[in-house]
Every structure is written in structure tokens, then in C-alpha cells.
Amino acid sequence: MFTIVDKRKMSPEVFRMVFTAPYIARSRKPGQFIIIQQGGDYSERIPLTIADADAEKGTVTIIFQAVGAATHQLALLDPGEAIANVLGPLGQPTHIEKFGKVICVGGGIGAAPLHPIAQAMAQAGNELKVIVGARTKDLIIMEEEMNKISDDVIICTDDGSYGRKALVTEPLKELCEQWKPDMVVAIGPPIMMKFCTQTTKPFGVPIIVSLNTIMVDGTGMCGGCRVSINGKTKFVCVDGPEFDGYAVDWENMMMRLGTFKTQEQKAHHHCHIGLNIKEGEA
């Protein structure tokens, strides 16, 4: 039983949920994710990253943005209620070692799965700098947590409502020039990760990205999550989610994300209404 023990709204669209999942809590490593199916025959299976876990308490923390039908449905659950199906931990863990100087870049909700990775990088003895960016102040998450593991956390917003008015690539470029990192980890929207790879490339710094493609099973059975890595087809759910940022065919990956665009817009429209009504009542 995946019973919710805590739920917090971090911003109007972003939720933090803690639920019991003893096996996942015990087995998961930074970089891995889960698949949730909210229950009932008709619900979609969606991949979500793991933000944190407590092996002793047997709990897993997720931070997600209610952007589609399934995440809206999830956001409606309250402590005491259970998530019907949670599968994980999925994918390969992040390769953690002492690289030297590491920059971790998180965009939007991507800062959540970035945190355990950044933490592990710090624990492995790396010097760590963190860049967290979002569209606007409300969407900046994990700032406090990041401050605990790095002395240098740079916050950027697109609209300048908090921190620097800049895209994450700006400080990233400066740090590449001045600080000369040995490794970059970037997690966020595909377009952000793509631009991060373009930023680091001239400096020859290796960059790891974490891909969030369309998925169904998450076990390697359907191939819906496939991407082209150095011209070879790989399944994100088993071979990834992390890949060498320079090897990803970004154009193809982003196009594939739009496979069901028209269908999804219809579905999302219905759900938004449901969530708003509940909020209004509360």
C-alpha cells in the first residue's frame, strides 16, 4: 500500500508528496525514477522522479507539477489516502564519483531529482556549485535544501522576480569560463538541457542530462521511451534516464514528446476544471 503520509503545495502547481513504499525507499539510488498509475482501469501510467527517500521510515518523496491529467488526479489525493500503483525504482542510478569540480543545473521541477544527485556528488568529495532556474519566483524549488549542500547556489528566473534575471545557461557559461568545472549535471525541460549542452560544449566539459520521455510500462517492454543516442536507439526507462548530453539527438527527442499533443490537450482541459473546483471549496 502506497499510503500518502504528507502532502504540501510548494507553489500553485507544484506539489510535494511523501508516501510509504518500503522496497523503493530501500533500493532507490540518486537518478532513478518511479511510475505511478493512479488507480482505476483507465488511468495513465506516468513517470515521476524521486526527490528523496527514507529507507528507515520506508517512505519516498516526489515533487511534481500538476501539468497533465494524471498529475492533476494525483494532486487531488490527501494524506491517509493511497496511490494505487507505484513501480520502481526504475532506470540506472547516476554514476557518482569524485570528478573534482561539479556544477548541478536544475530547471523548474528538475531541481527536485537534481537534489539527491547533487547531495551524492558533494558526499563523494566533489566541489559543488548549483544553479536553480525557473520561469518565475513561485516556481523556484529546493533552494533551502541546495543551500545545505553547496556554498554557492545561484538562483535565476526568466522574469527577474527572484535572483538573477537570466536563463540558467548564463551563469553556467560564466562558471565554465572562470571556474572550469570537471563535470556538469543538468536536469530540466528538454530545451534547457539542450541549451546547457550547447553552452558547455566549447569548454569540453562532460555533461550528463536526465531525459523524461513518454513512457508506458517503464520496464523496457514497449519502446515508447526510445531516443537516439549517438545514432543508436536506446530505451530511456532501462538504459537511462541519464545520458551523455552530447550524444542525445535533441531534435528527435523533442519531436517525439509531441506525439500525442492533440489528444493530451483535450484531456488536460477536463482535469484542470476538476482541480480548481476542489481548491475553491477548500
Binding site: Y42, N85, L87, M221, C222, T233, N252, T259, Q263
Partner: protein
């Protein structure tokens, strides 16, 4: 050509009256026509997901059973992978004793209602049947599968489903990985022997390919659910959302979680692609993805389902097996205007069940034989617009005796389409192999087992079904599940003795 169920029943009743006198000679039996399977009319069924074949009527099943010659040598049994007493159950069906008929099948097979629907009978029991040989036409063999289906359904419809007895507890805990036909069979036989049995399934529903792959119109989900209920009633515990290798490894289960033995029935769930240019374009799906969306995630119910489906007008399906037929016929039902099967060989070599091919033809699926896909073409938005194919002719037979296709130079052409479904088979998922210390697999990633016992290279760990055989069949998976369970029960018993004397 096809007749309504009422017409078929009336014809059978006439035959029944004519032949019911005792003392039928073989000559008389051979003169009885094969009973046609009543089915939904093609123009109606392409608009629904319900089962195509409706099943024999009582008169039909008795008449069909009268066609059996009760051969002393029973060559049909030699064609059956689990050696069901075929003349035995048919003789009982001919007498109308359906309860004993189904009991006879269940002595050897755990899932007759499934096998009666999906077994490739024309290349197994019906291939070797004497009646087919006499008529020099396998289509005229005794319709063993249809009789099997009738008696299995009869049992379900008469509420006589019995829960197999379970021996008193042995105190041993045994794990079964996966919940397809291999695992369902192993779980039942292990539980019967009194062990505590836990089944681990990665997905949120159990049944394996029977649930996520084979469509409702060929195998209604309630039939699989019924079998799973029986397992639950026997006390088998099903753990959903448990991916062995990730949630916990085989080594964890054996060393930490107290399992005395494990059966791996994880199937062949890794879709193959052709590795031709354009395979990652929008609109290209593996058959597994296409079918999983529709079946497991119920996306065919567009109004209710959260899982989206691709809107297709013109579909090309690559492949010639059951998976290709299922994908093509699903696409038709989901509203595609035109669906084509693109296959490199000819109808002769197609591995799909005969009945599925006939049904596909009736439903308007177009077959493009001797066509090999070379490249998938797309527009500037990355969406599929067509497939470049090359024509082939059949060359000399290869080592397996199948004639292999040879491309005809200069015969390339482009077939337009907006959707491509790749149904060229599955390989074994490497997850368990990669996360298990000491488990031996062959070059193709199939788990290596002892032929007699299904024991793997790890003590106490057994395996069967598609993970051992490669993409095979339901009946072979079931057979291995049974074989493994028998050996596991012996292993556990022997261990108990060793353990007993040591303390």
C-alpha cells in the same frame, strides 16, 4: 460465406439427428463436415472490441466430436506439447459429458479456455490428426481447439469452477516472477504442494501477454481474470508493481527475504526493431506499445482512458506473426481507414495462426507479401509519411528449412502511410540477467535451463516460458511452468530432508 449462429446450429441439429444412432462407422464419421465456428460478422466486429469467435453451440460440439475416429495411436496427442488425452476428452464431449471432458483436459493443461482460443492447433494436434490426413487437408482435421474451448467455457458458464485442493503448509516460501501463462501454471502447482507462493508482477495487472498483448477480441480479459481468481482463491499472493531486479533482486529475495526457491517466468518483453532509418519518427510504434496502450491501458475507450492513442488513417504493420495480426486488427478497430500487413515472405511462411489470418482478411486487412521495408520517411515535423520498401522473391531454403526472401534490385517503391507498427518479434528483457549474480544466459539472453527440470545455473532458481524459449507460445510456456514446479517441489522436499537431518 459465413453463416449466423442460428443457421449453423440448425444444420448441426439435423446432422445430430441423423448420426446420433449408435454404431457410427469411420466412413460415416469422415463424411461429417467440419463444423464452422460461429463468429461476429466482419462488418460489425470491426466496430467493436468484443470477441470475434462466438464458440460452438451444444449441437455443433457434439457433431464435431463425432468426427473423431478415436485412433488407437492418437497421433494428435503426439502433436500436443502437453500431451492432453485428446481422444479421451473428445469421446466424453461426444456423449455430452462436458464435466468429465473438461476434467480430462485439466489433468494436463491448466488454461484450456485460453489455449482453446489461442493455440496454433493447425501446426500442433490438428496437424497430426488422422482425419485431416485422410482428407489431405489440415483444415478438415477434427477441430480439437474448438471442442476444447467449448468444454472450458461450459465449465465457466455452469459455475462449476473448482478450486484445486492445497496440501497442508510446508512452511516454505516460494516466489514466482511474472504472471504470464508460465508463471500462472507454476504458481498453481507450487501452491497445490502446500508452499506459500508469492507472485511478483511488474505491471499493475497480472496475466502477462494474455492481458497486455493479446486483444480482447481474441481473448476476453475476463477469462484471464477468472484464472487469476482461482489462483487467489488457492492462496497465491500477487504482488503487483514489483520489478524483480529493481524493486528487489533475485539475490535479495533468496538471501534477505526468505524465499527457498524462485521460478522466473518473465517472458520475452523487449521489442525488436528493424534498425532502418526513420524508425524513431513520430507515428512509429512497436506492436507492444500499440497493443499495451489499447489493451492494458484501455485506450481504445477514447472517452474514458487517460492514455492517449495515435490517430491513424493509413497504417503499415511490419511482420507476419500473431503479434502483427493483432496489431493490424486493433488498428482497424481503432478507426484506421486502411491497414496493411507488410511481410517479407508469402502467406505460406507466415507464422500467424491460420484462423487469425482468415479473420484479418475478412476484416479488410490488406496483405503485401514479399515486401521488405528499407526506410521510414517523414515530413519536416518528424511525422511518418511513408515507407520505402523493396520487393523480394523467395530463395533457397535456409538451415531451418524456411525459404528466405531475396531482394529484387531496383524494385524499390514508396507506400504512403501515417502510422507504422513494428511487429517483428521480441527478445528477452536483460534486466534480470544483468542484476542477478550467477545466472547463466545464452548468446541471445535466454536463461539456460536443464531440459528436464527447468533448473537454472543457480540452486533453487528455475525458469520457463518465453524467457527460456524466446517468443514461443502459451502452451509451451504453460508446459514449462508445470515441469519446473514439479522439479521445484522435489527440490524443496529434498532440502527439507537435508535440513532435517542436519539439525
Amino acid at each position: 460465406m459465413s453463416h449466423t449462429i442460428e443457421q449453423l446450429d440448425a444444420e448441426a441439429s439435423v446432422l445430430l439427428a441423423k448420426y446420433s444412432s449408435n454404431g457410427l462407422k469411420n466412413k460415416d464419421r469422415l463424411a461429417i463436415p467440419v463444423q464452422e465456428m460461429p463468429s461476429q460478422a466482419p462488418e460489425i466486429r470491426v466496430n467493436n472490441m468484443e470477441e470475434v469467435a462466438l464458440g460452438y453451440t451444444e449441437a455443433q460440439v457434439i457433431v464435431e466430436s463425432m468426427r473423431c475416429l478415436q485412433c488407437a495411436t492418437a497421433p494428435c496427442v503426439d502433436g500436443c506439447p502437453v500431451r492432453i488425452d485428446i481422444p479421451g476428452f473428445i469421446a466424453l464431449a461426444a456423449k455430452g459429458d462436458f464435466a468429465r471432458s473438461i476434467a480430462t483436459i485439466k489433468d494436463s493443461s491448466m488454461l484450456p479456455s485460453v489455449c482453446g482460443r489461442v493455440c496454433p492447433q493447425e501446426s500442433q494436434c490438428q496437424l497430426t490428426c488422422t482425419v485431416g490426413k485422410v482428407h489431405k487437408n489440415v483444415d478438415k482435421a477434427v477441430a480439437i481447439g474448438r471442442i476444447e474451448r467449448y468444454v472450458a467455457d461450459w465449465e465457466a458458464n455452469h459455475g462449476t469452477r473448482s478450486i484445486p485442493p492445497v496440501l497442508s503448509s510446508t512452511g516454505k516460501k516460494v516466489g514466482v516472477i511474472g504472471s504470464g501463462p508460465a508463471s500462472m501454471t507454476a504458481a498453481a502447482d507450487l501452491r497445490r504442494a502446500g508452499h506459500e507462493v508469492v507472485m511478483f508482477e511488474a505491471l499493475h495487472k497480472a496475466g502477462g501477454v494474455l492481458v497486455y498483448g493479446i486483444p480482447e477480441f481474441r481473448l476476453p480479459k475476463r477469462i484471464v481474470e477468472e484464472e487469476l481468481h482461482t489462483l487467489s482463491d488457492m492462496g497465491v499472493k500477487i504482488e503487483y508493481n514489483f520489478l524483480v531486479g529493481r524493486t528487489a533482486t533475485i539475490n535479495d529475495l533468496m538471501e534477505r527475504e526468505g524465499f527457498s526457491a524462485l521460478f522466473i517466468g518473465s517472458g520475452a518483453g523487449l521489442p525488436n526493431f528493424l534498425n532502418i532509418p526513420g524508425e524513431n519518427l513520430i507515428g512509429v510504434f512497436s506492436a507492444n506499445e500499440y497493443l499495451t496502450r489499447s489493451n492494458l491501458m484501455k485506450a481504445y475507450d477514447k472517452a474514458k482512458a487517460g492514455t492517449p492513442l495515435f490517430d491513424s488513417k493509413k497504417v503499415l504493420v511490419f511482420g507476419g506473426g500473431n503479434v502483427a495480426m493483432d496489431a493490424a486488427r486493433t488498428a482497424k478497430r481503432l478507426g484506421a481507414d486502411e491497414v496493411n500487413i507488410v511481410y517479407r515472405r508469402t502467406s505460406e511462411e507466415m507464422p500467424a495462426r491460420r484462423e487469425e489470418v482468415v479473420h484479418a482478411h475478412e476484416e479488410g486487412i490488406i496483405f503485401k507479401y514479399l515486401h521488405a521495408p528499407k526506410e521510414i520517411l517523414g515530413d519536416d515535423k518528424g511525422r511518418v509519411t511513408g515507407v520505402k520498401v523493396i520487393l523480394c522473391e523467395l530463395g533457397a531454403p535456409d538451415s531451418s528449412g524456411r525459404r528466405s526472401p531475396v531482394e529484387i534490385p531496383g524494385s524499390e517503391q514508396v507506400l504512403s502511410c501515417d502510422t507504422v507498427i513494428v511487429a517483428i518479434g521480441n527478445s528477452s528483457n536483460p534486466l534480470i540477467e544483468k542484476t542477478t549474480k550467477g545466472l547463466k544466459v545464452d548468446r541471445k539472453g535466454h536463461i539456460v535451463v536443464d531440459e528436464e527440470t527447468c533448473a537454472t545455473s543457480m540452486p533453487g532458481v528455475y525458469a520457463g516460458g518465453d524467457i527460456v524459449l524466446g517468443s514461443a507460445t502459451v502452451i509451451l510456456a504453460m508446459g514449462q511452468g508445470r515441469k519446473a514446479a514439479k522439479a521445484m517441489n522435489e527440490y524443496l522436499l529434498a532440502q527439507e530432508k537435508v535440513g532435517g537431518s542436519a539439525t
